[in-house]
């Protein structure tokens, strides 16, 4: 009799452990190490008051905190073009944010959206003479935290309430898995609403993954391009979503290198920044402790180099992560 109860309990535990969990919490990484610093690049904030940096298709894109909002540079940091006037007129911008960069033989196409205006634009920069042609691609009719045009005609969007959804070609909106839970329209549609959970996101270069990293909490979420949630991970412990800012940590960037995902994590607990390496299902692989406070991350997937920008140091630090290529 006792034996029967024992096996029933074992079966219940087995079923429980087999059930798909909505998230898992990472308490430690299988490997720890120090990243190899390749070089430091000092920048002059009076020349470039940097907000964000991106490496894409062999070019650097600087996003500045004031006009001109965008600078396109070659791989040796020689300026090719700058654009983005501040204002409310056509082809002027209030809060432009980089969305995507595509390069062809003649031009670098920089896709960006204006958060306040809720519009997506393309700046086509002539590679030979640096001429810039800006065109408006879509007006979403409301302010947008994130917009990304996909190859199949859809958009991934996040409006002021920070819930990610696909905007289909026929205009229908479909939440990505998990983002449509417990929507309180009465609260979230208010023009004054500021979500406690705030995030940024990126699409992998092969267009197969969509990663969301929280800039307010220790949360990383991975989707496939059908919106299915592949995984959700918390660092150290489950976050308190009622707080505007986590007392544990938050992410400052993500980049895709080879078959791994590299995230820049700012730990409040450890008072330092980490580069965290995950596989394509968000299983932890390795963590590198950085001797700097990192604010922005971008990666060069061709060479296996990641660059971390530190506002305090007014420097960009390039680290060798080619072991993951």
């Amino acid at each position: 009799m006792n034996k029967r109860y024992f096996w029933i309990i074992v079966a219940i535990f087995a079923l429980y452990s087999c059930a798909k969990r909505e998230y898992y919490t990472i308490h430690s990484f299988p490997k720890e190490g120090d990243a190899i610093l390749l070089k430091e690049i000092k920048y002059d904030p009076t020349e470039y008051f940097l907000a964000d940096i991106s490496w894409a298709n062999g070019y650097w894109i600087y996003e500045l905190r004031d006009e001109p909002f965008f600078i396109l540079l070659d791989r040796d940091l020689n300026e090719i073009a700058h654009f983005g006037r501040k204002g409310n007129s056509p082809n002027e911008f209030l809060s432009p944010m980089l969305s995507n960069v595509i390069s062809d033989s003649n031009a670098v196409n920089i896709y960006f959206y204006d958060w306040d205006k809720g519009r997506l634009y393309n700046a086509s920069v002539n590679k030979n003479n640096g001429d810039v042609h800006i065109s408006e691609l879509k007006d979403f009719g409301k302010s947008m935290r994130y917009v990304r045009a996909l190859d199949d005609g859809r958009y991934i969007c996040s409006a002021e309430n920070n819930r990610y959804y696909f905007l289909e070609k026929n205009g229908e909106e479909h939440y990505l898995e998990g983002w449509g839970n417990e929507v309180n329209e009465a609260v979230e549609l208010s023009s004054t609403y500021v979500p406690t959970f705030q995030s940024r996101s990126d699409v992998s270069p092969d267009n197969n993954l969509f990663a969301v990293y929280s800039i307010s909490h220790q949360v990383l979420i991975l989707h496939d391009m059908n919106g299915k949630r592949i995984n959700t991970v918390y660092i150290s412990k489950e976050p308190d979503m009622g707080l505007y800012d986590s007392d544990v940590g938050s992410f400052n960037g993500i980049t895709f290198l080879g078959d791994v995902i590299v995230a820049l994590y700012e730990s409040v607990e450890d008072e330092c920044s980490y580069l965290m390496v995950f596989d394509r299902e968000l299983s932890p692989l390795k963590r590198y402790r950085l001797p700097i406070d990192g604010n922005i991350l971008t990666g060069n997937p061709e060479e296996g180099v990641v660059t971390v920008l530190s506002y305090d140091d007014e420097k960009m630090y390039c680290y060798d992560l080619s072991e993951w290529l």
Binding site: R65, S95, Y311
Partner: protein, 91 residues
């Protein structure tokens, strides 16, 4: 017969004049009521929002700054959270 025609004409003129004056008064009333409604709608109630006294630059973040109770983009509030009154009438 002549008197009947004159009486009818005067009555017609008085009636059409009265209708016109009444319509004018009604129209004015209608406009006034609309104007009052518009004025009332401008007096939206104050809304309380969570705000912070200190801030740091952070891409993709937004928050309300207690000093002017306005929302800022690409910045995060730090330190103690407070509340402020968002007064639409002042904007």
């Amino acid at each position: 017969m002549k008197n009947l025609i004159i009486f009818s004409s005067i009555s017609f003129l008085l009636c059409t004049g009265g209708i016109a004056i009444k319509a004018h008064i009604t129209s004015d009333d209608f406009l006034n009521a609309n104007a009052e409604a518009l004025l009332e709608s401008r007096s939206l109630p104050d809304i309380t929002v969570n705000c912070f006294m200190e801030t740091e630059f952070k891409m993709g973040h937004s928050f309300y700054y207690c000093f002017d109770c306005r929302r800022y983009i690409n910045a995060a509030g730090i330190g103690k959270m407070m509340t402020c009154q968002l007064n639409f009438n002042q904007e």
